[in-house]
């Protein structure tokens, strides 16, 4: 073994390894800073205005929440394709409940999302069906539920209720959705780094068989992770309904891809076992910033870009990131063995 390591030494020099490591661990943050500076340089005052930056943050809160849930799911080695549909379902539910007041509507949306998440978790953990099949099926079911609950049309929120405050209230300078999302990420980080639950999540993703043999509560942890993802999607749905004043059964299409892209760009391994909540936040901000700047560029008249291309760009972005991740991980594992 030692002989092999020694013979490999000259082929990859120290700084190359260091650069690869830095790129792997902080690549997203470096890209975020670079793209931000590019925006400051090219779009100036309009870009750095408080209005633009707070709007940018606020409009990415609902992506941030589902990406946070997705981070935990992916760290266990699973995937949750149902989040976009759960957002639609819970946005409709929140709009329907909005007449009962802010708290009831938000609790209803989170509760419904939690319910879908529990079903996902139970089917995955107890019946051992592959996560992508389970969540693809609940995607279909949640869209069906959203159609039923909304009678196949968008549901307006009750304008007399305080539900719309969820989106419009400011805490000091900071919009309430941003406060909620920041708080969720803080809690997520504590749960991942400082609790037994977090260690179990990483252990399951690292090696489920070993975690099982070590006697960890696999089923319970998996159920909790998918329930968390569902509940966060519910909160995301409530925010979306409060933003647009409606709950639409066709909202949230493809959001699962955005969430997965944000998680992966942050450096969380798709195979599970490693990851961080904060890098996901960086991933969300990076994606948000890119589309913000594309908007500015469109405003300058550099190019015509229909919104349909956004989906293509998101897809291409995910592609680029997984390819980079696959290259960097392979290089890392080649240099450590």
């Amino acid at each position: 073994m030692t002989a092999r390591t020694a013979s490999q030494e000259p082929t990859t020099s120290g700084w190359q390894q260091w650069a690869a490591g830095l790129l792997r661990q902080q690549g997203a943050l470096i890209a975020l800073i670079a793209i931000f500076l590019f925006g400051v340089w090219r779009y100036g005052e309009n870009f750095t205005s408080e209005f633009n930056l707070w709007t940018l943050l606020r409009n990415n809160t609902y992506f941030g929440l589902i990406a946070l849930g997705m981070t935990f799911v992916i760290m266990t080695g699973g995937i949750d394709l149902s989040v976009g549909a759960v957002v639609a379902l819970t946005a409709v539910a929140a709009a329907r409940l909005s007449g009962e007041g802010l708290w009831v509507a938000v609790a209803g949306a989170i509760g419904l999302g939690l319910g879908v998440g529990l079903i996902n978790g139970a089917l995955i953990a107890r019946f051992r069906i592959q996560p992508f099949i389970v969540t693809l099926a609940t995607l279909l079911a949640a869209r069906g539920g959203a159609l039923n609950l909304s009678n196949n049309a968008s549901v307006s929120i009750d304008f007399n209720s305080n539900f719309k405050d969820l989106w419009r209230t400011n805490v000091g300078e900071v919009p309430l959705p941003v406060v909620i999302t920041a708080f969720a990420f803080l809690l997520g980080s504590i749960a991942l780094n400082l609790t037994r639950f977090g260690r179990h999540v990483l252990a399951i993703g690292g090696n489920e068989e070993a975690a099982r043999l070590a006697g960890l509560p696999i089923a319970r942890t998996l159920v909790a992770v998918y329930a968390l993802s569902g509940a966060l999607a519910g909160l995301s749905g409530a925010l979306l309904a409060a933003q647009g004043n409606t709950g639409s059964p066709i909202a949230g299409i493809g959001w699962e891809l955005t969430a997965i892209a944000a998680v992966v760009v942050g450096g969380t391994l798709l195979t599970g076992g490693r990851g961080s909540v904060w890098t996901t936040l960086v991933g969300v901000l990076l994606l948000g910033l890119i589309f913000n700047e594309l908007n500015f560029e469109r405003g300058k008249g550099t190019f015509e870009l229909t919104q349909y291309w956004e989906e293509v760009i998101r897809g291409a972005f995910l592609l680029l990131v997984v390819i980079l991740q696959s290259r960097l991980t392979r290089r890392a594992s080649a240099s450590t063995t």
């Binding site: 279909l140 196949n152 956004e310 989906e311 293509v312 290259r327």
Partner: protein, 339 residues
Amino acid sequence: MANVGQTEARPARPAADRVVLPRWLRAAGQTHGAVIALLLLVLFNAIFTTNYLAWSTLRVNLDQVATIVIVGIGMTLVIATGGIDLSVGALMAIAGSLAPLIFDSDWGPLDRPWVGIPLAIVLPILLTGFLGLFNGFLVTYFRIQPIIATLVLYLGGRGIAKALSDGILLDFNNPSFEYLGKGRPLGIPVQVILMAILLLIAAWMMRSTVFGRYILATGGNEPAARLAGVPVSRVKLAVYAISGLLAGLAGLIWAARISAADPYRAGEFMELDAIAAAAVGGTALTGGRATIIGTLLGAVIIQQVRFTLISHNVSDGTTRIVIAAAIILAVLIQRQREQ
């Protein structure tokens, strides 16, 4: 022999961690669950659905099942290698959106129907086949998990389809192209004939060709297959490309049948239907075991469930929920068979 070795190598799992289905359900699943389910559906419809046994009803059902089967064949091959293809629905939308751009084009020779129509069929299928190859390339060369690799086109592909048709439903009127979805030589819908031909080819290929053996060997035990000299990467590239080609064909049929390119609804949830058809039919989702005729059976069952619900005025929303539950149940039974 190889089978015995595999079962022994699998570590035993504590029973507390998984739920076991009741014995009668497992037994039914292990023997002829799919056939029984289909017979029950047919029996129910024969009694409770008006005009169910009419030739026109059968034709409508065959019409609708054909696209699921055509996509399902490709999906079965991909699943047999241990992969999955989530992009098929989006590829259908791309093919359907590209075709009218070609046959409605005024550009040069495309204006002539005997050039425009064949090209409007060949080019979209080639494009989706190429995109399928691209999926396979991500899976083999970059070793990205099939779910993620095909997820890129699952969403990005629909974006391409929307960009092609400017995000609107594009009506067209072109009888020669629409023949693909509406033609009835000898009273039989064209897509049913295509489906039957493709079924025969695929079944023969899985049963009697080296390529078929390679597919099963790749899905059964990839490292062993590699050591045995199976060109694993090329086999995978081929199945994803085939899946793309078939999805393209299904997308053209779909567009031809409704005389429109609809980038939103074309192939929506088709990946789920195709996966479910394969799973219900008895193809192991973990790879290594596949049955083409089973996929036909699975597709017919799914289509019959949907037909039964819709013809009894169950809402679209509830239909989706029931289909989702049926898919989970089917996969669950399939899974118990694997263990």
